[in-house]
Symmetry: C2
Subunit: 410 residues, 2 copies
């Protein structure tokens, strides 16, 4: 018997995380399935940002570096985030962009493995990551070698200084076994740098137990930190003493206000910072993290998996006959928190859906991507979204919406 | 005859830039002389930030990358800033921090001068700059050599790939002749990277006419962009085609939404970007720049010079007898927009002044620094600030405020 909307409604009523949706300011009439690109606005953020702009900056001015502890914000927000990553508070800080942080980590990791000649990286990873891999390899005179994520564990060898890959692939949502892959990388004497862009705030992470060395993640996707929110960076405690990254700005200095000519690395995770952080964006991120208060990450991950299972089951029932193909694993244990579907007219379908208030995104050439942020997406939202897509495909309304340029849907 | 307050009041009445003070939200009872560390809050910023958070992010969500042109924000704000720098709109963009941008520029410049073995840099420059110089030299296998700013022109040689220095020194306010120093650097076949941290928005700049190759600057000082506002980066048009910087993220890609594995540099100044910008901080900066609308930079620079001249004359009259020494050039043509005074108890004096609502800052070991942002500082403010300092010194109220830690006044 096909899935009906009442079944989904029952799942919503039984959802132990249903309370979290009220923590977001969501527009009326919209089903927002793009939290994997830009998370929705948590309710407390606007007031906190206004407070920072109007009182901390406007009234207290420079004193706020101390009185509002802007100075401590990167570490304070990092510590708050650590629980969601399965990390110690002392291992995480918030700074720069994910690409800049990946650059820091790759150089630092290569310096810990002198004499090794290769950076091993994931073919098909988010391109920005691999552009950084190429750049680091060029700067350090190393080779960049690319294999699919599933082959990293087998390809790592005695020549590999560092292996880097995404925990959840941005396109397929294929999720790696972080512990097993890290163990294989370590068995070859190399170090692991994980990209958590599609993991942080979406799936169950245990950076410490997995033995991970380094990781970077994204503040503006499932963590709802706002557009371009600063990135997070994880350095395992055992590496902090020897962590030697190349963006040696004053925020990473042991004693920045002595203004000494020589760089002396800050102790702990502060060494991952470079320079003065964008405070307004950073406090927005801090306030956004309140949406995770009292949320058990295992429960959140289980809901995300159930939402994706429902999405896939409905796609099988209602979309496959229009030539829509699943590009995401069926097995929830190796899947992140979004569903990718392929269709030759994917661009037009996504555009038509947006016109009906169902917001997903498109990744060239033909992938339609739907993220199901467990904090604010309901089972009925998934039902309604697939029903809308079925209608779009049946009526071929996408025909009016052929791509003008691939970048028009970000 | 000593300068009296009525003279200053007359100067305020005659000030053609007096209108600009109303563009700022300044706390009552405060004389804010730390705009060189954190500029005051321009009035339009809070509303613009609220609009971005509540409507663009909260309601329009991912669509705002296009509809609010978040995507174009770095270039749009850079183009708006270009006039204040004497640059073409196509030569400036807003991104990352000043240290990260300096890293990009130094690597790019060294790549344009293969075979040269040295980065020449300013001894006594802001330490963060020189930490980055050291890091780039280490990565590229070059030598970092330091000489005082005044000796850069004479020290540059055939071994020098790039010379980097501040236009206005953060401590002394000594200002370099950008055209002459650049010409000397070019005569040796090297490239010039200028740090404009204490120049942008404060003094008259003409990056194009000076022949400058590259520059970085700061958004949160005289440009009033907010705490940790993103930095600006200038690349002379003639270098854009060959500009090859190492932080190769997707925002610097020619076609970021094609998601191609290979990096293809964006045309123009966009190649200086790395990754997704912190939009909330960036729109704050954009709104802040409205405070410069209809402001002639020559007029602004002239007022800043007159304010500093007044400060120095008053310090001679009223502070010298307490052992306060001028650490800033008397000659306004080689001075930036702040006055540094030295006193063995500088820390305590600055603290005591803050207690009276006169906000300056302290730079270890003994420098008291007072910035006179021409958009919102009045001649009477300078008079009242020096009078307060005289009183603090005469009563020795600083004795109660000995330093507990050097970093307590940022």
């Amino acid at each position: 018997m096909p899935i009906n909307r009442r079944d989904c409604d029952a799942q919503d009523r039984d959802d132990p995380l249903a309370f979290a949706r009220d923590r977001f300011s969501l527009p009326e009439g919209v089903i927002y399935l793009d939290g994997n690109s830009l998370g929705a606005l948590p309710r407390g953020v606007a007031a906190r940002v206004a407070e920072t702009v109007e009182r901390e900056w406007g009234r207290d001015l420079i004193a706020s570096w101390n009185t509002a502890d802007w100075y401590g914000a990167p570490g304070r927000v990092g510590a708050k985030l650590a629980r969601l990553l399965g990390a110690r508070p002392s291992e995480v800080t918030i700074t720069d962009s994910i690409s800049v942080n990946l650059f820091k980590l790759l150089v630092a990791a290569c310096r810990m493995r002198p004499g090794r000649t290769e950076i091993l990286a994931e073919a098909g990873n988010f391109p920005s990551d691999n552009h950084i891999v190429d750049s680091v390899a060029r700067l350090l005179g190393l080779t960049a070698r690319y294999v699919p994520a599933s082959e990293i564990a087998g390809a790592v060898g005695p020549q590999t200084a560092v292996a880097t890959l995404s925990h959840v692939n941005y396109r397929s949502a294929l999720m790696q076994d972080m512990g097993a892959v890290t163990a294989a990388i370590h068995a070859a004497g190399a170090l692991a740098v994980w990209d958590l862009a599609h993991s942080s705030g979406a799936v169950l992470l245990d950076l410490d137990r997995s033995g991970s060395d380094f990781a970077v993640g994204c503040g503006y996707k499932y963590l709802n930190g706002g557009p371009g929110a600063p990135s997070h960076i994880f350095v395992a405690e055992r590496h902090l003493a020897h962590f030697d990254q190349p963006l040696t700005g004053w925020f990473g200095h042991a004693d920045p206000f002595r203004f000494e000519p020589d760089f002396a690395k800050a102790p702990g995770i502060r060494a991952a910072l470079c320079s003065t952080p964008p405070i307004v964006s950073l406090v927005a991120f801090e306030a956004a993290l309140d949406a995770f208060d009292d949320v058990e990450m295992a429960e959140l991950a289980a809901k995300g998996r159930a939402l994706c299972d429902l999405f896939i089951a409905l796609a099988d029932e209602r979309l496959a006959r229009f030539g829509v193909a699943l590009a995401t694993p069926r097995d929830g244990s190796v899947r992140g928190n979004h569903v990718s579907l392929r269709h030759p007219n994917g661009y037009g379908v996504v555009r038509a859906l947006i016109g009906r208030g169902v917001i997903g995104d498109f990744r060239a050439p033909d992938a339609m991507r739907f993220g199901v942020a467990p904090l604010y997406i309901r089972f009925t939202d998934v039902f309604d979204a697939v029903a809308a897509m079925e209608d779009v495909l049946a009526r071929e309304t996408w025909r009016d919406l052929a791509p003008t340029e691939a970048g028009a849907v970000t």
